[in-house]
Symmetry: C2
Subunit: 109 residues, 2 copies
């Protein structure tokens, strides 16, 4: 299980991306629309999401079979997202949920 | 500027560490006392702190000279922490502050 990204809720996606690009020089936008964005910043992937769409979270990447196993172990449903990733969310010890995610092209991880 | 760690406020440090170790197999404790902890988890460093001590944040590592420059640019004071790291906090676009941190042994980064 490998750390994949940190996501946080922000009121305005474009403003958040602009702030990140200005604050951490060399950041690059991997994806952006009006509802979410993914920025590579200092070697880490940071997601910005609108409130209510996803909880703020830490994501860890696994293979598809491992995601199935963990979903059963934790008794939660796997959700399929707009970008074809699949994941579960676990309530963590603080304000950041833990997402366990698998990518469409991931056979194992 | 390189991504260094994610910190989040939790009500109980020991419980948070136990949760992380259980949820992400292979996690290791880098530091732990009753007031904060640092866990290596899936290749990333996650800090757990008590409410009111530090804000939940994303930390980026720089050299000492760059920290001085950024503190002046942003007009904020550099704080020295218990572990001899020095940093500034900037209010980010969401609930996670951005910490710019330098380590005692970092001449440049």
């Amino acid at each position: 299980m490998r750390f994949d990204h940190v996501a946080q809720e922000v009121p305005d996606i474009a403003e958040a991306v602009a702030w990140q690009m200005r604050t951490v020089p060399g950041s690059t936008v991997l994806y952006q629309d009006s509802t979410w964005a993914l920025v590579q910043s200092g070697g880490a992937k940071l997601a910005f999401v609108l409130p209510g769409q996803h909880p703020s979270h830490l994501a860890f990447r696994v293979g598809a079979a491992e995601l199935e196993r963990l979903a059963a172990e934790h008794g939660v449903e796997i959700a399929t997202h707009r970008d074809a990733t699949r994941s579960i969310y676990l309530q963590g010890p603080g304000s950041l949920a833990t997402e366990i995610i698998t990518y469409p092209d991931a056979d194992a991880d």
